[in-house]
């Protein structure tokens, strides 16, 4: 469970947001909405301690993340709005790197099933540079399943995706929340998820 207490952030003396109090518990799917520049990505980066807040604290499972940052990272997958796959090495190498980083136990067969659902299995041995931007985004989303973490943080996950992939992503979100996971994402898209809670930053 994540608790955000009295969070304020200023960028170059301009107020982005002030006195934000949010709590996210298991089985919740939360979408952050808001106009451009309302601090959606900034909020996600603050939660992940990439940025430092001006005031306020963030707690994960009752512990301040300032002191237990790696404990928090151990339960978190972060999908950025840009792709973390290295373009010059193969899909296989990228997947192996992500797998090793998160000490994932998934075997090759399970990864192939994943790739097949996203229609990427033909690229397994080719370099990422040959994939289209939608396919690279899908490859990035594989990290969600690969890392098997409890808390998913996503920045604009629906960018570049086609209708079929969006349906798969929505289903993945629902399955994850039914298994006790937590999801926090920022997007302008209106996904078709039943128990979606919206956090308005306007």
């Amino acid at each position: 469970m994540l608790l955000v207490n009295d969070l304020s952030f200023y960028r170059n003396k301009i107020k982005i947001f002030e006195n934000l109090n949010i709590s996210i518990s298991s089985k919740q799917i939360i979408q952050i909405k808001g106009k451009n520049g309302s601090g959606k990505t900034t909020f996600l980066k603050l939660v992940l301690k990439i940025l430092e807040p001006k005031t306020g604290e963030i707690f994960w499972e009752g512990k301040n993340i300032k002191k237990n940052i790696f404990d928090f990272y151990n339960h978190t997958t972060f999908i950025m709005d840009h792709n973390t796959s290295s373009r010059k090495i193969t899909v296989e190498d990228n997947i192996n790197y992500w797998k090793g980083l998160s000490s994932s136990k998934l075997n090759t067969d399970e990864i192939f099933v994943l790739l097949k659902t996203l229609n990427l299995e033909k690229y397994y041995k080719s370099k990422v540079i040959y994939l289209s931007s939608g396919e690279v985004k899908k490859l990035e989303l594989i990290r969600l399943i690969l890392e098997k973490k409890k808390f998913w943080i996503l920045d604009e996950p629906y960018n570049h995706l086609d209708d079929k992939s969006i349906a798969i992503l929505n289903q993945t979100f629902i399955d994850h929340s039914n298994n006790g996971g937590m999801i926090l994402f920022a997007s302008h898209f209106n996904p078709n998820i039943d128990n979606l809670e919206i956090l308005d930053f306007n």
Binding site: I50, F70, F78, M80, H82, I89, G100, S103
Partner: protein, 223 residues
């Protein structure tokens, strides 16, 4: 044990990325060879002159060649967020910097060693001076890798001024040049100069992870 596995994984990825960019290395070494040729053609074929200035010229050109590829030190990993997910995978930025310095030292600097004896022949250097060049370059290139890491991390958000990163490296490598070139005329002071060089290398290995990691954190905050 898990952290050891992750370190090996990171190095494996670095080697793979290096292997796909192997042309960069060859062009760096080619740049070094060609600049040496240009120097020799400009000076003419006076054997005695070439022998006197040989080590100094080789060291200056090595320095310039190794600053060529510095911009790529962290840039790709920073831009696509690999630094963040590697950090989230349980490695501190300091450890990442140390591994980057190690792989840069092994993959970019050490291949220059193979070219040193050939260049030494062009300048008609005696064997003991080539040996000294070898020894000082192994220590000096480690210092250059550390300096490269510091200057590359300081320039992560700098999109326009390309020469400033080389300026930082050149400025701080002046002591390396002084001791590395001076070692040939040192006589009895040989050991003390080597010790000084090793001392400088140890200082930079000590400070560069912290300063680079601080610069990376700062760059992430402002990106």
């Amino acid at each position: 044990m898990i952290i050891l596995k992750k370190i090996l994984l990171f190095l494996k990825r670095e080697f793979k990325l290096f292997y796909t960019n192997i042309a960069d290395l060859f062009s760096n070494i080619l740049f070094f060879f060609l600049s040496v040729f240009v120097f020799i053609f400009a000076l003419g074929s006076d054997e005695q002159l070439l022998r006197t200035i040989g080590v100094g010229v080789i060291w200056s050109l090595l320095l310039l060649s190794s600053t060529l590829s510095l911009r790529k030190f962290y840039e790709d990993d920073f831009k696509n967020g690999v630094l963040i997910i590697t950090h989230m995978g349980g490695m501190s930025y300091e450890l990442i910097v140390l591994l980057k310095i190690f792989s840069h030292f092994i993959l970019v600097q050490i291949p220059f060693l193979a070219s040193l004896p050939i260049v030494g022949i062009f300048f008609n250097l005696p064997t003991n001076e080539i040996y000294n060049l070898f020894l000082t370059f192994v220590i000096g290139s480690l210092i250059l890798s550390c300096l490269g890491s510091i200057s590359a991390s300081m320039n992560l958000l700098n999109k326009t001024n390309f020469s400033i990163s080389s300026i930082i490296v050149l400025l701080f490598s002046i002591p390396v040049i002084i001791f590395s070139v001076g070692i040939n005329n040192a006589g009895d002071n040989f050991n003390s100069l080597i010790n000084l060089l090793i001392g400088i290398a140890l200082i930079f290995i000590g400070i560069s992870p912290w300063s680079s990691a601080a610069s990376i954190r700062l760059a992430l905050k402002n990106s």
